[in-house]
């Protein structure tokens, strides 16, 4: 066995050498066979690199060929650093688990009553409920109103109170006080909500 490190770069110019490329993980190697005709058994060679050890094995090449098999890492190789890859993998798993834990279970439902004798609904209000691990958020998306609670039911009840307050606030405000969005919200709320005294 000839260690290529002892050969320097002379092996590169050997016209009798047979070169093959070998890719292991992210690293690429040149496999070089040189030497005189010689009967040889198969063999193995251990090579170390930072954080990793490779074992290269080869069969008996032929009756005519073998004296040495040299492994030369290409200068453009990407080092295989398992520790670094493991750290990146751990980071990715952590991010993924946090994303899963913080992602809500979402469902849509509707409100058909505002829990108030003073207000009635002309039609059900569509509601998006997002249930997180320790809280729930109910949203009436069209008017950007939210209700919060520890359970979906609490969040929906909170949203009902918020809808009433918003309705009161927007329907009593002068048009000059409201910008584009609140004006649209007022229209939407009038479409869904009626104050009891307005019924008669």
């Amino acid at each position: 066995m000839i260690d290529w490190r002892e050969l320097g770069d002379s092996w590169r110019d050997d016209p009798a050498a047979i070169r093959e490329s070998l890719r292991i993980g992210a690293s690429e190697y040149t496999l070089l066979r040189t030497g005189e005709a010689h009967q040889e058994d198969s063999g193995a060679w251990w090579e170390g690199s930072p954080g990793l050890e490779y074992r290269f094995e080869w069969p008996a090449i032929s009756a005519q060929w073998h004296s040495a098999v040299h492994m030369m890492e290409l200068r453009t190789r990407t080092p295989v650093n398992l520790e670094d890859r493991l750290q990146r993998l751990e980071g990715a798993v952590l991010e993924l688990s946090e994303a899963l834990l913080t992602r809500p279970i979402a469902c849509s439902t509707s409100i058909i009553d505002l829990n108030s004798s003073s207000y009635s609904l002309n039609r059900p209000i569509p509601v998006l409920v997002e249930e997180y691990r320790d809280e729930a958020v109910a949203t009436f998306p069209e008017v950007e109103a939210h209700g919060w609670g520890t359970t979906p039911a609490e969040a929906i009840n909170d949203l009902k109170a918020e809808v009433i307050l918003l309705y009161e606030e927007l329907t009593t405000a002068g048009p000059e006080e409201l910008g584009k969005l609140p004006t649209a919200w007022a229209r939407v709320l009038r479409y869904y909500v009626t104050k009891a005294e307005e019924v008669h």
Partner: protein, 99 residues
Amino acid sequence: MSPRQKRYTKHEVRSAVDKKVPGQYRSGREEVYWVILDGQKRFKVRVPKGRGNWGIGCQESVRKDLQLSHGDFDGLVDCSLTGPDYEQMLLEKSSQGLI
């Protein structure tokens, strides 16, 4: 995959809204803050009262109410986005007819 979301306390968020967002709290229910530009109510932000931690869902609803991306929301609470910067953002949205 989205980057990890920063968590803030209620107090941190409310303090940022009080200092940097132009507007006023709704009378009678001080969790709702009306953003006022050019004398008009443009949109509302529901900001919880009190101190301590809260859930990521409530924090997300405040961020959406403030019409901010995750990065800008972090900036607003962490101080890199100033009140005038935020107001400028709102004026640009207003000129685009978004708010």
